[in-house]
Each structure stands twice: as structure tokens, then as C-alpha cells.
């Protein structure tokens, strides 16, 4: 610490007001706004509940004495061999086509769906951010090639290719993760590339370069932290997309192979039971919808919280109006008391 800096600090301490004015960082502000957003807080609660539900799957299985792959042909199926309804014979959410406990399968399915959703998002984010940084920072031929690859990956009829890839390499958990990650990185990459293009022209990057920082240091230490905001929003919004993607692949029979349960393959089997077992379709659909909706609402909330323009939008809201009214009435009261 330099002498002038010390002097400056000493002066600042001397003239400090009774309540020190706290500097608010971007993250600090975002966090404050996010906590004030009731929808975002509710989504976090819902997401935590779904995670808790997924983690407690073994507990649910041991409490109900129903294993995840355990079929109960005597109690779990009625005389016609159809699934039994919720509440019958201790099956809280009913049973599936071969008499397995639907609640236990949905809980274990939550593990797989969330795992696939989060892992693929992590892979896609890391790959997308790295490639976007490289393309944006180095520019030139590297950028030209990567930009074309990004365009191609975004323009591809991805369900078709995902179908075909899954078929060539036979369905498995790792193939599903690979396919989803492969089709998710490009969107992140494109945004990171654009941001990097504008950030690398900033003065502080020039300063870093003149201090002798290498390209990798500049990319990952100087530029990356400035991109964390948009990347965080994108990642939050990619999780539900990946969950839906996994469910769709499993629904088409090329995702998570049986007997491991995933929300998609449960719904795939449920398809033909729409006339006799509504619970078989409704419960897995509901959990899937609630989860993806919560992640989408949270992603939107984070985006709003990070956007400085939101403050202005909120200023038109009722809370701000009330605040303004209160402060103006206070001011009026003050004026009155001053006048008297």
C-alpha cells in the first residue's frame, strides 16, 4: 500500500459519517433485487424441494417398502392387469404398467433428470464459454472457423441428428449426456463471443497486456469475470431445456434405457394408458412441468435482477408508487412543520 493511499484512507476515516456508506458491488445489488423478487424466491424454494425429493428417493423407497424396479403383480395391478389408482394398496401415486410404485419411480427419475440437466449444462457452459472466449479474443481465422461451426450447430435440425446419433451408438446415459451437451454449447458460445469482442477493446485489457499478461490470463482472469452474469442467466435457463431434451429423447425411446426410470421414459410407457390410468401421465408430467417452470422463472428473475434497466421498470410498480407517496407526504409534513 502506498503512502498516498494510507493518507487517503486516514482522511476518509476522519471524515466518515456516523453510518459508513457501504459500496455495493454488482453482485451485491443483484442479490438484493433477487431477494426482493417473490417469484424468484418461490422458484428457488420449489427447486430445492425437487432436489430434496430426488435425494430422498431411497428414503421413500424404504418407507413404502417398494423398490424402484420392484413389480407388485398381486397388489400393484388390478384384476384386469391394469395399474391401480393412487391410494390403493398403499401406492400413494398409484402404479405403472407392470405394478411398480409410481411415487418411487418418479423420485428416482428426478435424480436422473436433474443429474442429466445439471451435468449437461455444466459441460455445455464450460465448453461454450471457453470456445466463445477463444473465438472472440483471438479473432481472425480461429474466429471465422468457430463462428461457422457455431452457426451450423445452431441451424441444425438437432432432434433429427440427436435421434440418429443415439441410434448409431445405442441409447445409454452417457450418450444422452453427450448428445444434449453437444447441442447446447453453441448458444452460450455465441453470446460469450459477442461479449468478448467488445470487452477486449476496453482500456483495462490494454493495461493488462502492457503489464505483460498473456492471452490465456487475460481471457480467463480479466475478461471471464465480466461475463459471469449473462453466463449464469443462460446456464439457469439451459437446465430446464436440458431436462426437457432428456425427457424428449427418453420419450422417443432413445434416451435413458429401461429399467432405470427417468421422467421421459415413464411418460413414454404411460402413453398407451391414457384411457385407464390418468395418474400414470398426470403425476410425472406435473413434476416435470413444475421443475422446468421453476428453473425458467428463476432464470428470468436473475436476468431482471442483473439488468440495470429493471430498476426503472420497477419504479413504475405499485411498491415504488407507495414509497414515493410516503416520502412526498413526509416531505409535505416536513414543509408544514417548517412553516409553522
Amino acid at each position: 500500500m502506498s503512502v498516498t493511499e494510507l493518507e487517503f484512507q486516514a482522511k476518509a476515516v476522519e471524515s466518515a459519517p456516523e453510518h459508513a456508506i457501504e459500496g455495493r458491488s454488482q453482485w451485491n445489488l443483484t442479490w438484493r433485487r433477487l431477494r426482493a423478487d417473490r417469484v424468484a424466491v418461490a422458484s428457488v424454494v420449489v427447486i430445492l424441494l425437487v432436489i430434496a425429493f430426488a435425494l430422498s428417493a431411497p428414503l421413500i423407497a424404504s418407507l413404502t417398502h417398494h423398490g424402484v424396479d420392484q413389480a407388485f403383480p398381486n397388489t400393484g395391478l388390478d384384476v384386469n392387469g391394469s395399474p391401480v389408482a393412487p391410494g390403493v394398496h398403499g401406492f400413494i401415486l398409484g402404479t405403472d404398467d407392470i405394478g411398480r410404485d409410481l411415487l418411487v419411480r418418479i423420485a428416482y427419475g428426478a435424480q436422473i433428470s436433474l443429474f442429466v440437466g445439471m451435468l449437461t449444462t455444466a459441460i455445455a457452459t464450460i465448453a461454450g464459454v471457453s470456445l466463445g472466449l477463444i473465438a472472440g479474443y483471438f479473432g481472425g481465422l480461429v474466429d471465422a472457423i468457430l463462428a461457422r461451426v457455431i452457426d451450423a450447430a445452431l441451424a441444425f435440425p438437432f432432434i433429427v441428428l440427436a435421434l440418429a446419433l443415439a441410434a448409431v451408438f445405442h441409447p445409454s446415459l452417457s450418450i444422452v449426456i453427450g448428445v444434449i451437451a453437444f447441442f447446447s454449447w453453441a448458444g452460450i458460445s455465441r453470446i460469450v463471443r459477442g461479449q468478448t469482442l467488445s470487452l477486449k477493446e476496453k482500456e483495462y485489457i490494454e493495461a493488462a497486456r502492457s503489464l505483460g499478461a498473456g492471452p490465456w490470463r487475460i481471457m480467463f482472469i480479466d475478461i471471464l469475470p465480466n461475463l459471469l452474469g449473462p453466463v449464469l442467466v443462460l446456464a439457469t435457463l439451459y437446465i430446464p431445456t436440458a431436462v426437457v431434451f432428456e425427457a424428449t429423447l427418453s420419450f422417443l425411446g432413445i434416451g435413458i434405457p429401461e429399467p432405470a426410470p427417468s421422467w421421459g421414459n415413464i411418460l413414454s410407457e404411460a402413453q398407451t394408458y391414457y384411457q385407464i390410468a390418468w395418474w400414470y401421465i398426470v403425476f410425472p408430467s406435473a413434476v416435470l412441468l413444475i421443475t422446468t417452470l421453476a428453473f425458467n422463472l428463476l432464470g428470468d428473475g436473475i436476468r431482471d435482477a442483473m439488468d440495470p434497466r429493471t430498476e426503472r421498470i420497477f419504479a413504475g410498480g405499485k411498491a415504488a408508487q407507495r414509497r414515493r407517496k410516503r416520502s412526498s407526504s413526509k416531505a409535505a409534513a416536513a414543509a408544514v412543520s417548517a412553516g409553522s
Binding site: 432432434i159 430446464p240 426437457v244 401421465i281 408430467s285
Partner: protein, 322 residues
């Protein structure tokens, strides 16, 4: 003049993309299955070694890969996608047969979701922060969060089963061709259309609302208003036109990708179209059909992108100048 040069460049890029896709799929899928297996499939299970050799020679399966690739490209240029391994028919014939249900879903679905999405988006933008707007925002997120097949299955439970239980049999699953009567056709198509609309309209509502709100804040809108134009005229003649640009570019992406998305809808409602056939082809390992579909789907993407680029100039005068 500039426009012509721009279009030619776009068409050339489109052809390049198609070539890349065709080459990629050829090497990935054709070569993923050994020649002997292919010959066996083409010749049938009870084929003698002589027939097998005959088939191998006839289809050129023993030729070097470069020669086979050349034949594949040559056929492609002449609109020949090869023969299906399972159905003894040309892939182009199969595609032609399977196209009507797929086209019905795509055309009706796109129209319905565009109309619904734009209508809700315009209403939300002109009544920003109203109760309607808030409901629409939640509805949009619900639509964005819902997988296509979940919407489809829920519609089957709530609409199809209920209506048919109560004796109304107009709404049906499975495909009823247009030639068998437009009423039955619409009845078999209404749920697939609604499914696509629920999932896709959300994107358009959000896009058109956001872009219309931005446009309504522009200077030229203030100018139009201060000229004394009616609000309706300002909205539909001045604002909406340039606000539509992002909507159109999204439409290009979605219509291009739709041939892929339609697979799920066809599967849920048992429409027996191209998408459902491809799923079977994939599980059977019928590579020519898969490749034919992938190429058709990418032609869709390329053409859709081209149309989008051309429509920019029509919609937004500012693009024409630059």
C-alpha cells in the same frame, strides 16, 4: 444490385451447408453399418451366397468408399436418395407417401401459433403491466417450460378422452387424409396443431411483445403520433412492421427446425407421417431413409433461412438502405 449479390451469396452458402450435411451424414450413417450387413438386409434373410454377391455388386457395396460417395452425391443431384433397406422402394417415393400428414401438421401448426403468439404479444405490449399482460407472461413461461409430448399427452387426456366419452367423436387421434373429407381431416389435426401452438406461441408472444415495446419508444413513432395519426394506424402501419423483424428471423429458425420437432407430435398422436417413419427407420437401422430425412430437413433449414433474409428487406426499410 446489392440485393442480388447478397442473395447469390446466401444461396451459395446454403448449397455449401447442404453439401456439408450430406457428406457428414453419409460417412456417419452409411459407414456406421458394415457392407456385409447391408447386403444381407437388402437381399433378405434367406439369401444364398450367390444372391448376396449379386446384391453387393449391384449396389456397388464392394467399391472403394470414394466411389460410393461419388455415386451418393451423383444420385443426390438427380433427386435420387437411394433405396430403403427394408421397404423395397425408393426413399423419394417413401418421403412422398409420408409427406401429407407431416405437411398438414406443419402448415396448420405454424399458422395457429403465429396468429396466437402475435395476437397475445400485441395485446400485451399495448397493455403493458396490465392484468392481461401479467397472465400472458406467466402463460408464456409455462409454454416455454412444457415439453411438446407432455402437452400432447395432457391434451389427449383432457380433451380427446373427455370429448369421446361424452359422445363427441369429431376430435380424433391418427391421421385422416384430406381426401377423406376436410372435416375429419381437421378433427384429426386440431390437437396436433394446438400442441404445437401451446409450445411455440410462447416464444412469439415474448418476442413480439418485447420488440413492439422497444419500437413504440422510437422517435419515428413519436413523429407519427404527433402527425395526428390514429393509434391503430401508428401501431399496425408503423410500429408493427419493423417490430416484426425479430419475429420473422425466429420463424425462420423454428420452421427450419420444425421437421425435427414434428417427430414428437407425430409420435404422440400416431399420425404415421414422415417423422414417425424416421423413428422406425432409426430403430431398424434403415440408413437411406434416415439420411433422406436428414437431407430433407436441412433443405428445410436452408430454404427457411433464405426466405427470412429476403423478408427483412421487405419488412424493415432500414435494412434496404444499408
Amino acid at each position: 444490385m446489392n440485393m442480388v449479390r447478397f442473395l447469390i451469396r446466401r444461396i451459395l452458402t446454403g448449397i455449401l451447408v447442404l453439401w456439408v450435411v450430406a457428406t457428414g451424414t453419409f460417412f456417419l450413417f452409411f459407414k456406421a453399418v458394415p457392407e456385409a450387413v447391408v447386403a444381407q438386409r437388402l437381399a433378405g434373410r434367406a439369401a444364398t451366397p450367390q444372391i448376396l454377391a449379386e446384391v453387393t455388386r449391384y449396389y456397388g457395396l464392394n467399391k472403394p468408399i470414394v466411389v460410393q460417395y461419388w455415386h451418393f452425391l451423383d444420385g443426390l443431384l438427380h433427386g435420387n436418395l437411394g433405396r430403403s433397406y427394408y421397404l423395397q422402394e425408393q426413399v423419394t417415393t417413401i418421403i412422398k407417401q409420408d409427406l401429407p400428414p407431416t405437411i398438414s401438421v406443419v402448415v396448420g401448426g405454424v399458422l395457429l401459433w403465429l396468429i396466437a403468439g402475435l395476437a397475445v404479444g400485441i395485446l400485451s405490449a399495448t397493455r403493458a403491466r396490465s392484468l392481461f399482460d401479467r397472465f400472458a407472461t406467466v402463460g408464456v413461461l409455462a409454454g416455454l417450460s412444457a415439453p411438446t409430448f407432455v402437452v400432447g399427452e395432457l391434451l389427449i387426456i383432457t380433451v380427446f378422452v373427455q370429448l369421446n366419452d361424452h359422445g363427441i367423436s369429431w376430435v380424433q387421434t391418427g391421421y385422416s387424409p384430406l381426401t377423406a373429407g376436410p372435416v375429419a381431416w381437421a378433427g384429426s389435426m386440431i390437437l396436433p396443431w394446438v400442441t404445437l401452438a401451446v409450445v411455440q406461441a410462447a416464444v412469439y408472444t415474448r418476442l413480439s411483445r418485447g420488440s413492439l415495446l422497444d419500437t413504440l419508444g422510437e422517435d419515428y413513432i413519436r413523429t407519427a403520433r404527433s402527425k395526428g395519426l390514429s393509434e391503430r394506424r401508428v401501431l399496425y402501419r408503423h410500429a408493427l412492421r419493423s417490430a416484426l423483424t425479430p419475429v420473422v428471423s425466429q420463424l425462420g429458425i423454428d420452421v427450419g427446425a420444425l421437421l425435427g420437432g414434428v417427430i414428437v407430435v407425430e409420435q404422440v398422436f400416431g399420425l404415421q407421417g414422415l417423422g414417425q417413419h424416421v423413428v422406425t427407420a432409426i430403430t431398424e437401422g434403415d440408413q437411406p431413409v434416415v439420411i433422406g430425412f436428414v437431407i430433407l430437413a436441412s433443405i428445410f433449414v436452408v430454404v427457411a433461412n433464405l426466405l427470412v433474409d429476403m423478408s427483412y428487406a421487405v419488412l424493415d426499410p432500414r435494412v434496404r438502405i444499408s
